[in-house]
Symmetry: C2
Subunit: 283 residues, 2 copies
DNA sequence: CGGATGCTTGATTACTATCAAGCTAAGTGG
DNA sequence: CCACTTAGCTTGATAGTAATCAAGCATCCG
């Protein structure tokens, strides 16, 4: 009970494991500063010897409670954010006022990059759970790039990675069915949890059906129905926010629910004709 | 008329103007090298005095014929590309083999950025028309960034701009109807043409309906029907690839075709009931 | 002048959104 | 501690948008 975010997350992700200690009591004892090496590790940037040695450079942590806003659209940009713990969402709002969730950053993820171009954030970021976030002043970051050439390359690499992520979102929204999108969403979450050392099979969603729907370009009802369908098919078991993945591979390769639907034309035609006939009989 | 692409494009964009000579002498007299300043201008990066003065740094041009591939997926990355003239498409292919068009680069656009992260291109780029493209070796580019700090900031800015572009694609695919997507596509093209000094009202599409559909997450039939609908509504006039925008503002604010569709429930209910009744009468 | 591509249009299907209740879980205040 | 409220989730019925299937037409090219 003395814990905090990590504790707050851990038991939710691995409800099996009952006895996780030292949940990072950040709210009392939380880290306030991180070294350059720690930030690199979080971002999965291989740190060079020079970077490891650099202990002068420190980055500040900030804590947010669930529901709090980290930055808003239009707010002047000067820092990038790296998630140390907790879950967030980033949201863009288009000219018509349509809200669209763009990402669900979690530990090790970078956000705020869209502020670089216009010196203002183009999206807003909101904490879904209590969060611990590291502030990375952009100026400081690029200045460090000059001192450490490999670091500079890595910065470009991280930005490129974000771009690729967006590109695959576009591909998904442009070409996958509702079921395939939800399946991919689960697979992605699962893989990200696994990479962080949590269970990739059992975890708790941190977002509402509405938020999932916004992220995937679907309504909350379609998300709910699709999860229920996966449940009935035995691919997952789902109870509210709790997910248990039963057949990872089936999810990974799923394209759409009805197997092929290509070779049963006549049957369908007959069936619908019959249905029509009976309808008319009734009427 | 000693120039080249501009001449080459112009007649297609402004078919009104019948007498443009010397199309595309680029194949004979095309520029082979550009200075750093010229590249900055193309990319809309404000060049500093130092950049303007730098005439040692030169970037090579390469010409491609329509249909030729500039780079493929998986090919080792080492250069970024800046379009000097012509039109291209970039395509990503997902795990299931779905093809998705991600962008239609034209003069002043940068592509190849997705190769930075994994040192391999994640997408492929194909020329839709004859093209003149400038090769920007990434190493050289970042090295220049060190010499010219404002240039480095601009590089980050350009990458951030690309990210924002992708984000708005996601928002569009996630929340707009077919008509709204096609409308936005036309508006975007129009604005880009205008910025380049071409007519934003009358222009020729360089891509097929299929390619537009792939870009917008729609089928080619839906694209065709939507253009026809806009035509009938008087928003545009369309004949094959030739587009003439009649009501730019209507396109810009269009959300979906049927005006509101919110306040005519009863009418619709009655109508469909009537239809059903007559159907049954027939049967 | 075919043949091939690409475009349009029509008919039909089906997927997903919308509308509409219930239901569950988690607080909240008496 | 227990109604009571509220936000979130599920499920059903229905409707509408866009995909699919299917011709026919236009344009371009060799």
């Amino acid at each position: 009970m003395l814990h905090s975010e990590f504790a707050h997350n851990r038991p939710m992700n691995t409800p099996i494991n009952g006895a996780i200690p030292a949940d990072a009591a950040w709210q009392r004892t939380g880290k306030l500063w991180s070294s350059l090496k720690e930030v690199c590790d979080l971002l999965r940037i291989p740190p060079s010897a020079a970077v490891i040695a650099d202990s002068d450079t420190q980055f500040q942590h900030v804590q947010f409670k669930a529901g709090q806003r980290i930055h808003t659209i239009g707010q002047p940009f000067d820092v990038l954010y790296v998630v140390n713990s907790g879950f967030l969402k980033t949201v863009m709002i288009d000219v018509f006022g349509n809200e669209q969730i763009l990402s669900f950053p979690m530990k090790g993820d970078l956000f705020g990059v869209d502020g670089i171009h216009g010196r203002r954030y183009e999206s807003e970021a909101v904490a879904l759970t209590n969060c611990d976030v590291i502030l990375v002043p952009f100026k400081k970051f690029t200045a460090l790039g000059k001192a450490h050439p490999e670091l500079e390359a890595a910065i470009y690499g991280v930005m490129s990675r974000e771009l690729i992520r967006e590109q695959s979102m576009v591909t998904m929204l442009g070409s996958l069915s509702a079921e395939a999108r939800v399946a991919r969403f689960l697979v992605n979450l699962s893989e990200r949890f696994s990479e962080l050392g949590y269970s990739g099979k059992q975890f708790n969603l941190r977002m509402t059906r509405h938020e999932i729907g916004s992220y995937l370009g679907l309504t909350l009802e379609t998300v709910s129905r699709t999860l229920s369908a996966f449940n009935e098919m035995g691919l997952i078991s789902v109870d509210q926010r709790a997910i248990d993945i039963k057949d990872f591979n089936a999810l990974k390769t799923l394209r759409r629910l009805p197997p092929s639907r290509t070779r049963n034309k006549e049957k369908q035609a007959l069936a619908s004709a019959a249905a029509l006939a009976s309808q008319r009989a009734v009427a």
